[in-house]
Amino acid sequence: MAASDLVLLEKDHARLTVVLERLRLDANAKLVFLLDKNGQQIALAGDLGAVDPTSLASLTAGNVAATDGLAKLVGEKEFSILFHEGEHDHLHINTVAARAILLVMFDLRSSLGLVRLRVKKATAELVTIIEEIVARSEAGGASESRALTPFAEITDEDIDALFG
């Protein structure tokens, strides 16, 4: 069965951002970024600097997807953590609740050990929130997200107007 749509409400975003912000401070990281496995940005904390968030999300999701493919190829369920070590900046990437990806960018002001420790704690909190969002999105129907959906009543004119 194909995965259902994901609906992120403002209150979800606020809850997730609190966890990400705390992780950024605890891990002394430059950037903490949460995205879904299809490369859509969910929330972030920290400074992106010159990094384009859309490209970062797409390439990270591609990276995780390719790694998942590798895991299956060798008979593993998943490789849950990816680590990329650069000259100045490093990326720690892990999956969250099978639907999301957490990326932490850090430099020499932190360490891999500290990041791993803090990520583990934050991931547990994020899993709870993401699972709630997924369950609500899948329930669809009567939920508040369904009542708010802007697309149930769009007209052909609305769509044509997009193209000027």
Binding site: L6, P150, G164
Partner: protein, 194 residues
């Protein structure tokens, strides 16, 4: 799998350009990139080999206007067309909201077109999708080549349902935006019907 973000008031959809190798999928996306204003497009990412063959995917985020106060953002992906990159193709189809099939009109590529459509159908099935039910557009590319198969013949061979069909010469941009608009419309109509 559409992502509706109420916090950012935007909707994100994923469109995948599928088709046989060297059929013009990347050329489509490149043309869209070249002809779109910088305010409405993101960076074009191309994971290609040294000889410009797509290795993993090309990616272009593009934004159309707003609907009911929600910005509509479409992520355009291409798959590697070469037969042996099937594992990568499967990964990229995951979470898609619509597919454009870019067929190569040259007579010698008809078998490759047919094989690629079969491959698309199978890979979609693995993700739980049915090609007959997903938003889908057929583009007949390279119409300017002397060996191009007549349009009615191509439609008879390649059309899988009542999908919109567009003739294109992607290198010159002919049919590129018509194809894109058609799939965007299909995706939005599909969202409405859910």
């Amino acid at each position: 799998m559409t992502f509706i973000n109420y916090a950012a008031r935007e909707i994100n959809c994923k469109i995948v350009y599928y088709g046989p190798g060297l059929g013009g999928k990347t050329t489509n996306i490149q043309y869209v990139y070249d002809r779109t204003g910088s305010a409405t497009k993101g960076k074009l990412i191309s994971l290609a080999t040294e000889s410009d063959r797509t290795l993993f995917f090309d990616f272009l985020p593009i934004e159309f206007g707003a609907i009911r106060g929600f910005r509509t953002r479409f992520h355009l992906y291409t798959v590697p067309g070469q037969v042996f990159y099937d594992a990568s193709r499967k990964l990229i189809l995951k979470g898609m909201d619509g597919v454009v099939f870019v067929a190569d009109s040259q007579e010698v590529r008809m078998d490759a077109n047919l094989e690629s459509i079969r491959n698309l159908e199978e890979n979609l099935k693995e993700h739980g999708y049915d090609l007959k039910r997903v938003p889908y557009v057929l583009q007949l590319n390279k119409r300017d080549l002397p060996t191009a198969v007549p349009v009615p013949e191509m439609i008879a061979a390649l059309r899988v349902k009542n999908e919109p069909v567009f003739e294109a010469i992607a290198t010159r941009g002919v049919g590129v935006f018509d194809t894109l608009k058609s799939i965007v419309k299909g995706v939005l109509l599909d969202l409405r019907s859910r």
